[in-house]
């Protein structure tokens, strides 16, 4: 295939996936500029290696690259200030990432709670929840994207849901 044909094929197949790619990166990176950088880098990488893509799921292939770029970036960030570990960082940054919540909290407390709970999950758990619940990937696809066995996907999902379910239960008790 000539270069122009390859470019057109890439654009047709990969550019429509950008909303999903951005959402994933935005959840990982926790701010817009870092998410933009990650998605752009992932697309450039995907474009460079597009010829090696032979699977049938372009979505899974692209999101695997996005996920890897984000993990690399988070790891690099972490070694810059190597005091905090990835998941402590996730927990510590929650309060900064939302506007003063008082008014919103009254209007829609449950919405905020679920977002906070999801943000506070350890990275690996957050990853499987997003890929499963937001993007609807099968266990096999998640296993390919994340690079762990299917059984691990299932146990991570199970534990992530247990954590989130604790929150829902508490809410119900307070109602």
């Amino acid at each position: 295939m000539n270069d122009q044909g390859q470019r057109t094929r890439f654009e047709n197949q990969m550019l429509p996936l950008m909303p999903e790619a951005y959402n994933l990166a935005r959840w990982f990176m926790k701010n817009e500029p870092d998410a933009r950088d990650a998605v752009q880098e992932a697309y450039l990488k995907a474009f460079r290696y597009f010829e090696s893509f032979q699977g049938d799921s372009g979505r899974a292939w692209l999101l695997r690259i996005v996920r890897n770029v984000c993990y690399d970036a988070l790891r690099a960030k972490q070694s810059e200030h190597n005091i905090i570990s990835l998941d402590e960082e996730a927990a510590a940054e929650v309060p900064d990432s939302k506007p003063s919540p008082n008014v919103l909290a009254i209007q829609n407390s449950t919405k905020l709670h679920i977002r906070e709970a999801l943000e506070a999950l350890p990275l690996e758990f957050k990853t499987v929840i997003i890929l499963r619940e937001f993007d609807g990937f099968s266990y096999k696809e998640i296993s390919d994207i994340v690079g762990v066995p299917i059984g691990t996907v299932m146990s991570r999902l199970s534990r992530a849901r247990q954590q989130l379910a604790i929150l829902l239960q508490k809410e119900r008790e307070n109602e």
Binding site: R7, E11, Y22, N23, I129, F134, P149, R159, Q162
Partner: protein
């Protein structure tokens, strides 16, 4: 199906990942068991909540254009160069996996208090889960010379692999699994109508009591032993006598000379 088995497979059921037989068995259990049903309902409620479009981050207006422009000025390397990414990626992936594994280990350790699962229940649950049609084995072969090399590079040890078809335990294949935050080798054997999973990992604590022990868990039998620096667990719903024969066959093959072959 009892509560433990149901809870081990509940997420797979909820995500439509089970075969028909297991699905029906779980549905039957959920009809009769209010406690498991409430676990299921929590998942339904959670999924409902996560459907909220406000939880998705919308792509900034100018961003798609920006990426398109950036791509337009980027040229792909020549095909010849394209052939090297895999060589570049392998060490990167291995390094990433190692670092990631370390994080994961820390996280999983921290998560443990949520489920008071002992290693016995964890190994048994992994065995039960593997019986979901789709992930019994990663490499399917009755040839030990196919199965053993498959593990190379995936673990920090090379598991001994033997077929015992002549004693009734036919090697089905192997898979990689995850126990207590560590990758473990699992060999799967078939004995009559039963599957036997043999879990192996490098021993965690060299001073630990390495005597053979047997456990029963929800109709499954487990045998633990330690051989040549490996912690071994055999799990099956086969009769205890048969499982002990399997263990004996394994132990006789696990001679130190063989270990280094």
């Amino acid at each position: 199906m009892n509560c433990e088995e149901t809870l081990a497979l509940l997420d797979a059921y909820f995500d439509n990942e089970l075969d028909l037989t297991k699905t029906l068995a779980i549905e039957e259990h959920l009809r009769d068991c209010a406690s498991c049903r409430s676990q299921y309902e929590l998942r339904v409620a959670l999924r409902q909540r996560l459907k909220d479009p406000d939880l998705r981050y919308a792509i900034p207006d100018d961003f798609a254009d920006q990426v398109r422009k950036r791509l337009a000025v980027s040229s792909r390397p020549a095909t010849r160069i394209l052939s090297f990414p895999s060589a570049v990626w392998v060490p990167v992936a291995i390094a990433a996996a190692a670092i990631f594994g370390a994080f994961l280990y820390a996280n999983i350790q921290r998560m443990l208090p949520i489920g008071p699962a002992s290693i016995v229940t964890e190994v048994a649950s992994d065995h039960i889960r593997s019986l979901i049609g789709s992930h019994l084995v990663d490499v399917e072969s009755s040839d030990q010379h196919t199965v053993k090399p498959w593990f190379a590079g995936k673990l920090d040890f090379s598991p001994p692999v033997h077929d015992f078809a002549d004693q009734g335990f036919k090697l089905v294949g192997g898979r990689l699994d995850y126990v207590r935050g560590k990758n473990v080798a699992v060999l799967v054997y078939r004995f009559k109508n039963h599957y036997v999973s043999l879990f192996m990992c490098r021993e965690r604590n060299p001073d630990a009591d390495s005597k053979q022990k047997t456990f029963g868990y929800q109709g499954y039998n487990l045998v633990y032993w330690n051989a040549n620096g490996l912690d071994c667990w055999a799990v099956s719903d086969a009769a205890p006598g048969a499982l002990l024969e399997f263990v004996k066959a394994q132990q006789e093959e696990h001679s130190p000379q063989d270990e280094h072959s």
